[in-house]
Amino acid sequence: MGLPFPFTAIVGQEEMKLAMTLTTVDPSIGGVLIFGDRGTGKSTMVRSLAAMLPPMKAVESCRYYCDPLSPQLCSECLARQQAGQKLNSQWIQSPVVDLPLGATEDRIVGSLDIEKALTQGIKSFETGLLAKANRGYLYIDEVNLLEDHLVDLLIDVAASGENLVERDGLSIRHPAKFVLIGSGNPEEGELRPQLLDRFGLSVEVRTPKDVQSRIEIIKRRERFERDPIGFTQEWDLAQKELQEKIIAARKRLQKVSVSDDILIDASSLCSHLGSDGLRGELTIMRAVRALAAFDNKKVATRNHLRLIAPYALRHRLRRDPLDDTGSTVRIERALQEVLP
C-alpha cells in the first residue's frame, strides 16, 4: 500500500478541509457529508485523513481501541481490570475505516468467529467494521447508494455510539463511536432522511475550474508520484503544525463560551429555514464552538456562526419539489434576513 497524499498539500477544497478539521476537534459534531462529482478529490481527502490525525492513546491489544483514561471501557477491558490486570496503553494512529457499498451485515456489525467455531469449537466474537472504526472515522463512498438494510444498521449505531450485537447466539455490546464520512453524487440517488440527519456537516465540492489551481494540483500530484517519501517530508512541517493546532483546539474546546445571543441567533435561523428537529441547532452550537477553538478564540462570535451555518444546515432543509433554489442560496438569504 502506498503512502497517502498529505492532507495539507491538497489544493483548494477549503470547505471540505475545514469540515474535516472541525470534526477532529470535536467528534461529537457528527459526520461530514461530501457531495460532488467524480474526480474532485474526495477519496484523496479521506485517504489523507489518517496521516493528518493526531495519534491517540489506546489500551494495548484492545480490539476496540479503548481510551485508558475514559471511565467507560469495553467489557473486555473491564474484565481485565477486574481480574487485577494492569491495562497498558500505547500510542496508535486513529483508525479510518472504509465501508464498501456491498459489505455484508456480518462484516459491518461483526459476527460469530466461524473459523474458531468450526476448528476449535469456541464461541467468540469476530469484530466488524464498526468496532474497527471506534474512536476514528468510518468512510462510505457513494453513501447515497448504500443498501437500505445497511443504512438501518448505521443509523442506530451512529446516534448511540454503541453497537449491540444479538445474533448467532451472541449477545455483545461494544463501543462504536466514530465520525461518519459519506460521499456521493446527488444525481445518482437521494439519501434516506434519517441517515442525512446523522451527518453533522455537509459540503459540496467541485473541481477548481481555473487553470492556475488545476496546474498546481497536477504539479503536486506529479511530485508526489515521483517521490512520495520526499514529498510527504516536504509537507511534514505543515502536517505537524495542523496537528498541534488541533490538539490545542481540543484542549481549548471546553473553555470556549457560546453566549445565549448566539444560541438565539442559531434558533431563529433554524426556525426561519424550517429545518426539522433540534439537531440542526445542536450541531451549530458544537460546530461554532469547535470553530472558535480552532480559531484560537475564547468566545464564539456571530462571524463564526455565519461561516458555519451553511455547513450545518445545508442538508437539513426540507426539499420543496417545486422550488429549484439551491439550499446554500436559501441559507445565505436567511442569514442576511435573520442576522443583518
Binding site: 474532485t40 464498501p100 476448528t119 448467532d168 473541481t207 475550474k209 497536477i218 515521483r226 419539489p321
Partner: protein, 585 residues
Amino acid sequence: MLATQNQQSKWLDACLIAQLITINPRVLGGIWFKSSAGPVRDQWFTFLQNSIAGQIPYRKIPPQTDELALMGGIDIFQTLQFQKKVYSQGILEQINEGILVLTMAERLERHTAALITQAFDLNQFGLVAIDESIHSEEEQLLPRIQDRLAFMIQLDDLSYKDCQIENIQIDVLKIRNLSSKIEIPELALEAIITAANGLGIHSIRAISFAIQASKSLAALRGSDELSSEDIRTATRLVFSHRLRTLPKEKSEEENISKEEPQTDSSPESQEDISQNHDSSDQQSQNTISKEQLEDMIIEASKAYLPQNILEFINNGKSSSGSKNQEQGKLGEQKKGAQRGLRLPSRQVKFDRSKKIDLLKTIQAAIPWQTIRNSQQNAINSPVQLKIQAQDIYLKQFMQRSTTVTLFVVDASGSSAKERLGEAKGAVELLLAQCYIRRDQVAMMTFRANKVDLTLAPTRSLVRAKRMLSAMPGGGGTPFAKAIQSSVLFAKDLRKKGHTPLIIFLTDGRANVSLAGIGGREQAYLDCLQVAKNVASENLQILFVDTSFKVQESNQSIARQMNAKYILLPQGKSSAVVQATKTLLT
C-alpha cells in the same frame, strides 16, 4: 482507402495503448475495452501478452468473482480439511503492479465494483475492463470505473486483415523507470489543462492520465524528454472519448485568441521568464508556443469523434454522462439477498458473502462422526466434531423487489403542455414522497410517431428535475406503439427483479397506427390488438383518462389490458399520485 487508413491507425493506437498499459499499469489505471468477442479482440490480447511477456502479473477474472477470491481471507475448505487456519491471498493483492483483465465488465456487480475501486485507490494495478454492451441504453461499465481508466479501445468496426501484429519486445521495468524521471514542462502542462477545459474535460484524473501517458510514450521511444508528438498522441488516446463539448470553431477561436492575451497576460509573461530558467534542456518545447500546443491537443482529441457527434454532445451522452445509465445493477438479483424473508437453508457452494447456518451444518455433520473419527487424519485432531466442507448449509433470504412506477405520457396535440406539466409534477411528488421506500420512477413520452424514454428509472429527484426540464410536445398520437414500448420496457424491468407499475396519462384518441401511418380507425384497432396481448403479461396498469368525459374507446382499451381506469379531466398531479397509491397497496 481512407476508411482502411483510419482503421489501421485505430489498430496501431490500440497496440500502442497495450504497450503503455504494460509499462505503467498503476498510474494509467487501465483500459475501457468496448468490443465484442472476435478474432480482432483476440489478436489484441495476443499482442498485449506478447508485450507483457511475463514481466508483470497478468490475471483474467469473470465479473462474478466473489469477495473471498478478490480480497483473500480464510479459506474455509482448506481450513476444514487440514484442521488449521489456511489463508488465501486475494487476486487484487497478487496483481499488484500488474494487469487485471475483467471480462463482461458491464455485468459487474456493484459490490464487486466497490471492492475493485477500493483496491484501485490502495494497491493499484491496471484494469482492462472488457465491456460487451451493444447499445448505450444497455448496462455499461460503471461510470466510476470508467473515470479511473485512462484509455478506451473500440475495435468493433475493424476487419481482421487490418490488424497485423509485430512481435515487439519491450523492457518494462527499464522504460517505467525512465518514464518516472521525465519532467513535464510548465508550458505543456498549462496547454494540456487549458485544452482540457475547452473540451469540457474536468476530471483531474483525465489530465493526470494524459501527462503520464505522454511520459510513458517518451520513455517508450527511449527518450528522457517529452516531445510535442508525445503530447499529441497521449491526448488523442486519453481525451478523445472523454470529450464533453465541441471545441470552438475556427472563426470563434480567432476572436478568442485575440482576447486571451489581455486576460492572461500577466501570469503568462511571468511564466515565460521562469520557462527560460529551467527549460534550457527542452529545446523541442521552446519552439512551440502554448497556443500552438493547445490547438494541437484539441485537434488530436477530435481524432476519433463519432459521426453522430453533434447529437452525442447535445444529448449529454458522453462517455461519462449519466443520462441513460443506471448506476449498475441496483435491486437486481434478489436471490442472493442478505436479509428479508428467510427461506430454508441450503447446501450450496460456499461464498463468503453469505451466512452459514450453523445449526443445520452441525446437523448435517453428525451422522458422519463415527466414520470421520476413525479416519487417519482424525486421530491427532483435538476437535471433537468433524465438519467437512460438504456439510455447510448457507442461509438464504428473499427480498422484496423495487417498484418502478413508469409514467407513459401523451405529449401529442394541443393539451400536451398541460398534461406534461401535470405528469412532471406527479413524478416529482411521487419521488419526493417515496424515497423512504426503495421505489423508482421512470417516464416515457409519445408523440408524432415516436415513443421516448424521457426519464430512465431513478430515485434521484435532482436527476429527474434536470431530465424533465425540457420536453417537447405536439404532433400525432401513436398510442398503440406507446403501449407496446412501455410493456416491453416493463417486462425488461421485471427481468431485472423490479416490480413495474405502468401509468398511462392520455386522452386516448390514437391517430397513428403501429406502422406509423395516420388514420384513427386503424390506430384504434391496433391499440385494441396490442392491449389484448398485454393482458397476458399480468402487469399492474393504471389508465388515467384526461378527457372531459368518459371515453368508451379508452375504457375498452383499458379493459382489454386489464388496467384500472380512472377519469381525471385535469390529470392533477396530486390526484394521479393518490390513484397510484391505491394501486400500490
